[in-house]
């Protein structure tokens, strides 16, 4: 496959995955804020606002809006074209990438990306937002999931598919790290925390931010407590939004792309990911806490950047 096309597919997939995550974060954040208005808004933990940290665009948020109204933050992260991390900006970039690869992804996938972009940029999305943003976020999430469904069910398992999967899962890995990094300081005592009574709500919110609440309850069959949550979100091998799962899928895709066998690796990215995967397979939660959760997550994110860089080197700059 053309390197340019591979690169576009990879980025298209990353942007869609991230847009979906932002939509979900905002939806759940909004829900939490409405539910329990008293949760420490003043400590920078306002669930909607924390998305600014997760997306590293707190600085970019217009300073003149000194009173960060919830509505302003939501609009900034949803519709603001000047904010590269807004859902609309990301879908616009996904759409540009899709437009340049229509002949690879097929009419179904392309039309859906295009439709989502036209919807978000149009007046219908604005009206829906005004009536209550939650429904808008849900429909954005659904469109992104529909796109994944179309990819799964209309594309053959060739390079096109695997570059799409690679982008999606690497982005998921990255976003999971970001969410955990943003939400964990106040949870693990590494930063001054609030009273214990709030903790449960917060761990629950963390799980929900990762679409993991129901699955956690069923799988762990235990109360929500820090060790269990970290084990589930970082080390679980079967849950599609765990770090280990995302890393393993990246590796599967890379193997399929480079056509390497089990005993060797085809490129540097594959080697780094292979090592990460075996780390996640054999480490346990006490060791993570021993090393320091934030330090652990930080190095995980560093690995993520390295992999991304190596993919660029091996496939796109040919």
């Amino acid at each position: 496959m053309l390197s340019r096309v591979a690169e576009s597919l990879y980025w298209m997939s990353r942007y869609i995955e991230r847009a979906e995550n932002v939509a979900r974060l905002l939806d759940i954040g909004l829900d939490l804020e409405l539910d329990s208005a008293e949760i420490g808004v003043d400590e920078g933990f306002a669930p909607v606002e924390i998305a600014l940290t997760i997306l590293a665009c707190r600085e970019a948020f217009p300073a003149e809006k000194n009173r960060r109204s919830r509505d302003a933050v939501l609009r900034f992260l949803t519709f603001d074209r000047s904010n590269p991390q807004s859902i609309l900006s990301m879908i616009a970039r996904a759409r540009e990438n899709a437009r340049g690869t229509q002949e690879s992804i097929g009419v179904d996938v392309w039309s859906e990306v295009n439709r989502l972009y036209l919807f978000l940029g149009g007046s219908r999305a604005q009206r829906r937002f005004a009536r209550g943003p939650s429904a808008l976020f849900a429909s954005i999430s659904h469109s992104c999931l529909l796109l994944d469904g179309l990819v799964q069910n209309t594309l053959p398992r060739d390079e096109v598919y695997h570059f799409l999967q690679l982008g999606r899962h690497l982005e998921r890995l990255d976003v999971l790290c970001r969410i955990l990094l943003a939400k964990c300081p106040s949870l693990t005592g590494e930063a001054p925390g609030p009273e214990v009574s709030f903790q449960l709500v917060r761990w629950t919110s963390l799980l929900r931010s990762c679409s993991a609440y129901g699955a956690y309850l069923r799988s762990e069959r235990e109360r929500i407590e820090p060790e269990g949550v970290i084990r589930f979100l970082v080390l679980n091998s079967d849950f599609p939004r765990s770090i280990r799962y995302a890393a393993a899928r990246c590796q599967d895709s890379l193997e399929a792309i480079s056509g390497g066998d089990d005993d060797a690796y085809g490129c540097e990215a594959e080697r780094i990911l292979g090592r990460l995967e075996s780390d996640l397979r054999y480490i346990d939660v006490p060791e993570i806490f021993d090393r320091g959760l934030l330090k652990f997550l930080g190095s995980l994110q560093g690995t993520c950047y390295k992999v991304s860089d190596q993919i660029q080197q091996s496939f796109f700059l040919m």
């Binding site: 437009r99 229509q102 097929g106 039309s111 036209l118 040919m318």
Partner: protein, 505 residues
């Protein structure tokens, strides 16, 4: 039962005026035989229903990104081409003549190009002044003596036809470089089938969807010698080109790569594409890029769209190019008046499809006539396209006419003039009713092992009332063109038409 029918007719056709040659209605105002069932069906359906389906069509096109880019500020604006849901019907006998005429024309033009770059017998025999060809902007000295695969230069052409006031088809313009629009032909058809399935079924319409198969065979046919499984690619200038949708559509339908210049590289005289698994050879390129942008080494050094060294690979016979290089001189408007002579010279036949009467300022008497009649004529720059660089006399201002008069004096070789022809008109859905709008027709011709004329073509519509300009860049729209298999009388019995009519209640 009759009452609503009459009402609908009053709404739909109430303000319809017949002028020029009307495609649907004869001089007595009754629908022509092959249009009668369509007429009935439209009246049955009614304005509101046509409107509804029209909107569905627009939405489909918008969602699928079936757009073109209008140049202007920034990087251009993506628009959908206005689509008119009323199909144009071409009877079997009309089409037969068009098909024979186009085949003849393309065959002769191809022989002409080969001759100009090799023997030049047409100049020796004084059929065409040599300086006219050598002065054409599409003439490429680099192609002199260059043998191209199977001696085919014009693999894809789109030849614009119009009908005069008697309904005769005339060639308005030859497009032998990279004619656009075939993707709209194929997409319009898909949309029409969804919009009007019953109507479509009633008419016995010749299919168009094998176009891309045929195009792929043509491209494979011109692969370098000894290349059994040629690797084919479509070369696009990129996403901001106005015809990008078409490039991407064609690549997708043929299942080949859509490449940009930066995806290709020359290595030891051969062209390769950069892939995730290293360099892979390309054997045939369907290029949708003008000659001068193809190779910065051979032509414009500032072009970043092409591939450095492509010309060398072409000359060495290592790459097949469609269309061939240097075909632009054949569709130069300065050559156009000579095409009937070209046909006579190479094929020893009379042209089946006529030309529009054309005046050339290089001839003194013509120039005099042109300058004296500017307000009645259409003046065109010989190397212009897309409706740019034109003067439409009857719609022009005194200033514009003076401007063109100066240009013609300065550069007589650079212009031609034609009488303003009232292009035929076709019922078109405007503001909730049907109105006559001027149309032309661009059929597409493929030249590979044999010459194939796609039964159909792009009917372009001048949407503003009274306008004669059909180009999409100038606000034109399109409609589907149905070439019918049989005479309509055999596929339509009166009873069927009547029952369709009754079905409305």
């Amino acid at each position: 039962m009759q009452a609503p029918h009459a009402d609908e007719k009053a709404v739909l056709f109430g303000r319809y005026k017949i002028s020029a040659y009307d495609e649907m209605f004869g001089s007595e105002g009754a629908p022509r035989a092959h249009y009668a069932p369509l007429f009935d069906r439209l009246v049955d359906m009614g304005a509101a229903e046509i409107e509804r389906r029209h909107k569905v069509a627009d939405l489909t096109m918008r969602h699928q990104g079936i757009t073109f880019t209008v140049y202007g500020r920034d990087q251009g604006v993506e628009r959908i081409i206005p689509f008119d849901p009323i199909p144009r019907l071409v009877s079997s006998s009309e089409w037969d003549r068009i098909q024979r005429g186009l085949t003849q024309r393309v065959r002769a033009l191809n022989l002409f190009i080969r001759d100009v770059y090799h023997n030049r017998s047409i100049f020796k025999d004084r059929v065409i002044p040599a300086e006219l060809v050598f002065g054409a902007s599409g003439y490429r000295r680099d192609c002199v003596g260059l043998r191209v695969p199977k001696d085919i230069y014009i693999h894809v052409s789109g030849i614009d036809l119009i009908r005069d006031d008697r309904g005769d088809y005339l060639v308005l313009e030859d497009n032998c470089r990279t004619p656009s629009g075939v993707s709209y032909v194929l997409k319009n058809r898909q949309v029409m089938k969804q919009l009007f399935p019953l109507l479509f079924e009633e008419y016995n319409v010749r299919p168009v969807d094998d176009y891309t198969d045929k195009l792929l065979s043509v491209l494979r046919h011109i692969a370098p010698d000894g290349c059994d499984e040629p690797s084919v690619a479509v070369l696009t200038p990129g996403m901001y080109n106005s015809a990008y949708y078409e490039h991407s559509f064609l690549a997708r339908q043929m299942g080949v790569d859509l490449v940009e210049g930066r995806d290709l590289v020359l290595d030891r005289g051969q062209i390769f594409r950069r892939t995730t698994r290293g360099l892979q050879r390309v054997d045939v390129i369907y290029r949708r890029l003008d000659d001068e942008f193809l190779d910065p080494l051979a032509f414009r050094p500032d072009s970043v769209l092409g591939v450095a060294g492509l010309m060398g690979a072409y000359r060495a016979g290592n790459i097949g190019l469609a269309n061939g290089l240097g075909t632009g001189m054949a569709d130069d408007k300065g050559i156009y008046p000579f095409v009937p002579d070209i046909i006579r010279y190479y094929l020893n036949e009379e042209a089946i499809l006529g030309n529009v009467e054309t005046f050339r300022p290089t001839i003194a008497s013509h120039k005099q006539h042109i300058l004296a009649n500017l307000e009645k004529l259409v003046v065109k720059a010989v190397d212009g396209s897309g409706g740019y660089g034109m003067l439409i006399g009857p719609a022009s201002t005194r200033e514009q006419r003076e401007d063109f008069a100066r240009k013609i004096e300065d550069n007589p070789r650079g212009f031609i003039a034609q009488p303003t022809i009232q292009l035929s008109r076709h019922p078109t859905f405007v503001d909730g009713r049907l109105d006559g709008r001027h149309v032309d027709l661009r059929p597409f011709v493929l030249y590979g092992e044999e010459i194939f004329v796609l039964p159909g073509g792009l009917t372009r519509v001048a949407l503003p009332e009274g306008s004669l300009v059909v180009n999409s860049s100038q606000g034109g729209g399109t409609k589907d063109t149905w070439v019918l298999h049989d005479a309509p009388s055999s596929s339509f019995s009166p009873s069927r038409a009547a029952s369709a009519h009754d079905g409305r209640a």
